[in-house]
């Protein structure tokens, strides 16, 4: 019984990791209607920026607050320089750029920061694990941060004019332009925000799985699964999806199918959900007029 409880909690902890990255995927999707495969690598790169600052003597939260705007700028610049010329190109061209970015960030990070595994500090204190050794302080703290980020995104899209304008720009660029929404700026903003959320996710994930240029490879797969499961149009759905994937993965791996089929199980469930409910568990079905 103890084992089951422990598996469940460790599943929630992994789920928190997937949820935080899933949020960045939701953000970029909301803003551009594309899924950026390089999101994970960009987050990893931002985490290295934070680590460099911390190693240079900057206190953790200061480094955190510097890294987020740097990542925002990085995302916005990528949109302006690389994505904008492709605005009218077929979707495959964008996919090509995403994959190119993924490889680029990965190699550049390896080149600058080397491939050696690095520990990343946690702001929540090392200390003894809480609740009888089931969950570490960091896991608890990072889950809280994920929820704060979730709440802000939800409020941003729900209550601000800017959020509404961004949704409009992604959903129907032509009409938005006609009613006066600066679509290009909205897209750059979306990229910037997604990169910032990714940076936060990276900084929350790195203390758990250690920082190296390939840190996000596995995480992105599960985060993607979580986002699709919960609904890629819905931040709350994506977070819940992330947690569900974490729990299913752990319990399924430990008790049902064995560790070899963990990922397969997660993906199988997604296929089933998407077949039955293509918008995801919590996604809104969007009907657009052609």
């Amino acid at each position: 019984m103890d084992g089951l409880l422990h598996q469940l909690i460790s599943g929630i902890a992994s789920g928190g990791i997937y949820a935080s990255v899933a949020l960045a995927l939701v953000m970029i999707y909301q803003a551009t209607h594309h899924v950026n495969f390089a999101q994970g690598e960009m987050a990893m790169f931002s985490t290295y920026i934070a680590l460099t600052l911390i190693q240079a003597g900057v206190p953790y939260w200061a480094a955190f607050c510097i890294t987020v705007p740097i990542s925002f700028a990085m995302g916005a610049v990528i949109q302006r320089v690389l994505m904008e010329p492709l605005a009218k190109a077929p979707i495959l061209a964008s996919v090509g750029v995403f994959i190119g970015l993924l490889l680029m960030f990965n190699s550049v990070a390896g080149w600058i920061f080397t491939y050696t595994l690095k520990p990343f500090p946690t702001p929540f204190g090392e200390g003894k694990p809480l609740f009888g050794g089931f969950i570490s302080r960091h896991e608890l703290g990072s889950t809280a941060i994920t929820l704060v980020v979730l709440l802000s995104i939800w409020a941003f899209f729900r209550f601000t004019r800017l959020g509404l304008a961004m949704r409009a720009a992604a959903f129907n660029p032509v009409s938005s332009r006609l009613v006066g929404v600066p679509v290009n700026k909205m897209l750059a903003l979306g990229w910037g925000l997604a990169a910032s959320i990714g940076a936060i996710a990276g900084m929350m994930v790195a203390p758990v799985i250690f920082l190296d240029p390939n840190m996000m490879a596995g995480v992105l797969l599960y985060a993607f699964a979580g986002a699709l499961l919960g609904g890629i149009t819905n931040p709350l759905g994506a977070v819940i999806g992330g947690f569900i994937v974490g729990i299913i993965e752990n319990l399924g791996g430990a008790y049902v199918v064995g560790t070899e089929l963990k990922l397969t199980t997660a993906l199988f469930i997604i296929v089933v959900v998407l077949t039955v409910k293509p918008a995801g568990l919590f996604g809104k079905t969007v009907v657009s007029r052609v």
């Binding site: 103890d2 084992g3 491939y115 595994l117 694990p129 050794g133 570490s136 190296d212 560790t259 963990k262």
Partner: protein, 403 residues
Amino acid sequence: MRRRTLLTGIGSTALLATPHIAKAQWPGVTKDEIKIGHTIPYSGPASAYGVIGQFHTAWFKMVNETMGGIAGRKVNFITLDDGYLPPKTVEQVRRLVEQEGVSFMFSPLGTANNTAIQKYLNQKKVPQLFVATGADKWGNPKEFPWTMGWQPSYRTEAQIYAKYMRKEKPNAKLAVLYQNDDFGKDYLIGLKDALGADYAKFMVKEVSYEVTDATIDSQAVTLQSSGADVLVTAATPKFAAQMIRKVADMNWKPLHFLTNVSASVGSVIKPAGAEKAVGIITSAYIKDSTDPRWKDDPGIKTWRTFMDKWLPGADQTDGGYLAGYGVDQTLMQVFKQCGNDLSRENIMQQAANIQPHDCAVLLPGIGVNTTPTNFHPIRQMQLTKWSGSSWELFGDIIEGTGA
């Protein structure tokens, strides 16, 4: 008639040309040169291994400049970057064999990379000598008579852990975390070799992970819940570091054996937390240049002298340079035994009958030898325990049960 004239013409041109082109005595070997091929990642995720390639290059430079080469021939050591990508290795090795016409491939690096070229080299009867990987499959002279490993295999390592465990904890309950591929499975095979019929009695839980997994926390929980008191972790650095930390966080205190693939202080023990790793046992066969106990060791001194002169400025704490030195000594022994016959057949035959020689950087008591039926040159290791600040050797040299 005209045709005959033409042929004679070609023939005489060829004759005239011969004195200018050095005649190949054997493939890759002329009167004054021997070509040796090598592949290693100088770029990409595994580029840290590149230092071994730099070492070999410096070594052969020294051989050419101070020893007059091998049997009076200059060594032309051609080392190419494969980025750790097996398809690239195949491309580079084909180039080395077919275009450059090397005599043999020396110590190409990587398990998947060597697997990709093994069939090709064996078909072509080109020696694939002293490959730089710890997989067990390189010592299989029946199927692959042209391939040979050098370092102790993962399987040998696992046999050694099992032998020690059986002696120290005859009632052990054993649990294993292994990577679900050739590397991880070699450890299961090694444990089975050494425990034999008792394997089922000792083993309470085997759990695998995939390299795509984000964390191994779930596996760690499963292993702990099994009630095991001995743990073997056959995981690559990232997962090994996670495991060390998780085991400590769960307050689990098993006798913990860790694959020496992940024994790096810098990239595993320190990230995981030096105090969390106290008591972990791994194994070694090469001296550690940072260990003060070898400060005055003649072997390490010889190595340092070489490093200072031929690789000035190189980071002497990098274990890659020591491994390079060791395998180069074994190759020199093969050349010594070859004498003046540098045919591929003779090189392979001598490699299969290596006589004892001084590798200088191997731990005292560890020998290198092969026979035509045993292509595992090094089969002994010594256990070493993490004290909280360094690895400390203990106990005797232990020999694996043999392939």
